[in-house]
């Protein structure tokens, strides 16, 4: 009996041939439950992840658990595998287990190597986390992306509502002046801005608010700045987007950047951020797409 992998199945499904579809081979010894759940999403989305990348995923999940950061990150997207596997989150306590792909094509995605990542078009391509910022806890939030390239033209991601001074959870990573900015939760009074320009490529850029008066911003696990920020602002009730910002329900400010990872969670300490960067950077290095 011939057994086909899901991708092979897709290619012959219209031919009249009737194969038996087997799930992708999944590492079973020592596999973390989050890993197993992720692989189920991958298989369900007709994706394929090779054994090397599966090991990287399992190691990454285990590392977060060892560090105590797993429960603080509510949705963790780390692109692995082929294009159908790419939008599957390693875990999602909140939001979608599979990021909703708007207009990306397989040619936009490279899993490994120096050109690794998913490349936006600055026009209409984005990923929807399915996670409303309002589902997070005020004064305990974090939002981060891993940036592979050096594109600097107003890369804004996240969500904001209303007009005037909106309620916002966004990251500008980086801005046109090569500085990084974060808005948690109002765009102007609570903004954190890096004190100097940043060097490209940017790698992990992460902002977090871990109290009503502490809003911190990090690049490569290193603190850039801390802002007291404004308080009494609510979280926007809109899904956070990657590759653009969700402006009152409409995607705006599209990015042409190349990303491979995004995380949304609760407030993080400096030690948490350092640990998260170390784990992510190790995984990126294993995929030879680290910057």
């Amino acid at each position: 009996m011939r057994v086909l992998a899901p991708k092979q199945f897709r290619s012959v499904i219209s031919s009249g041939y009737h194969p038996i579809v087997m799930p992708a081979k999944v590492a079973s010894v020592g596999a973390d439950p989050d890993f197993t759940a992720w692989m189920a999403q991958v298989t369900g989305n007709l994706g394929t992840v090779n054994s090397g990348s599966q090991t990287i995923a399992n190691t990454l999940i285990a590392g977060f658990k060892t560090d105590g950061t797993r429960t603080k990150i509510k949705q963790f997207w780390f692109g692995l595998g082929d294009f159908p596997a790419m939008p599957c989150c390693l875990w999602a306590d909140l939001g979608s287990a599979i990021l909703t792909n708007h207009n990306f094509v397989s040619g936009d995605w490279v899993e490994t190597g120096s050109s690794g990542g998913l490349t936006g078009n600055a026009g209409n391509k984005y990923l929807d986390s399915g996670l409303s910022a309002a589902a997070l806890t005020a004064n305990s939030t974090s939002f981060g992306i891993y940036v592979h390239d050096s594109t600097t033209s107003f890369q804004t991601m996240g969500a904001e509502d209303g007009a005037g001074i909106p309620n916002t959870l966004e990251i500008h990573a980086p801005d046109t002046d090569s500085k990084m900015r974060s808005d948690q939760y109002d765009a102007f009074g609570g903004r954190a801005t890096s004190p100097s320009t940043l060097s490209a490529p940017f790698a992990l850029m992460l902002a977090t608010r871990d109290s009503s008066s502490t809003h911190s911003m990090y690049q490569r696990g290193t603190l850039l700045t801390t802002s007291a920020g404004a308080t009494g602002i609510t979280l926007p009730a809109f899904n956070l987007f990657y590759f653009c910002t969700n402006q009152n329900g409409t995607p705006q400010s599209f990015s042409g950047q190349r990303l491979s990872c995004g995380l949304i969670g609760s407030g993080l300490s400096a030690t948490d951020v350092s640990n998260i960067y170390t784990r992510i950077q190790a995984a990126q290095t294993s995929l030879t797409r680290n910057v």
């Binding site: 897709r10 792909n101 708007h102 026009g123 209409n124 929807d128 400010s253």
Partner: protein
């Protein structure tokens, strides 16, 4: 006869529907679009990055009804016209590819070279930067 980049460039100065091309030309356009993502010179990539479908909202809705919920087509509205990136075609032609289900509709949607989106991106960024600087 296969079409060249120059011929495709010339043809796309005016709206055309994919269904109006011969099978060979359709295959060539898809190849050109794929190469537009990877492998072409910078001016050629820029050209194809500026090729857009202009569907109606009804066509967008009809295509999304054919896609799984985790895959969406969403066009950029500018001046009452919707713009959808043309490289969608590269994942349309093979059974099982991401957007294959929408090909029966997409093939009749006009496609054209236009810098309208690029111009809009630049204008929106300038406005956003201005707003940021006011804060």
């Amino acid at each position: 006869m296969a079409i060249t980049f120059a011929q495709a460039q010339n043809a796309l100065q005016n709206p055309l529907a994919f269904s109006g091309l011969t099978a060979q030309q359709q295959a060539d356009v898809v190849t050109l679009l794929k190469n537009g993502v990877q492998g072409f010179s910078a001016p050629q990539r820029a050209f194809f990055a500026n090729c857009w479908f202009t569907p109606t909202q009804a066509q967008i809705d009809a295509m999304n009804a054919l896609l799984p919920p985790q895959t969406r087509l969403s066009a950029r509205p500018i001046g009452g016209v919707l713009y959808l990136c043309s490289d969608i075609l590269t994942d349309c032609m093979t059974v099982g590819s991401t957007y294959h289900a929408v090909l029966p509709i997409l093939k009749d949607v006009p496609m054209q070279f236009s810098t309208v989106v690029a111009d809009d991106v630049a204008a929106k960024q300038a406005a956003a930067i201005a707003a940021r600087n006011l804060g």
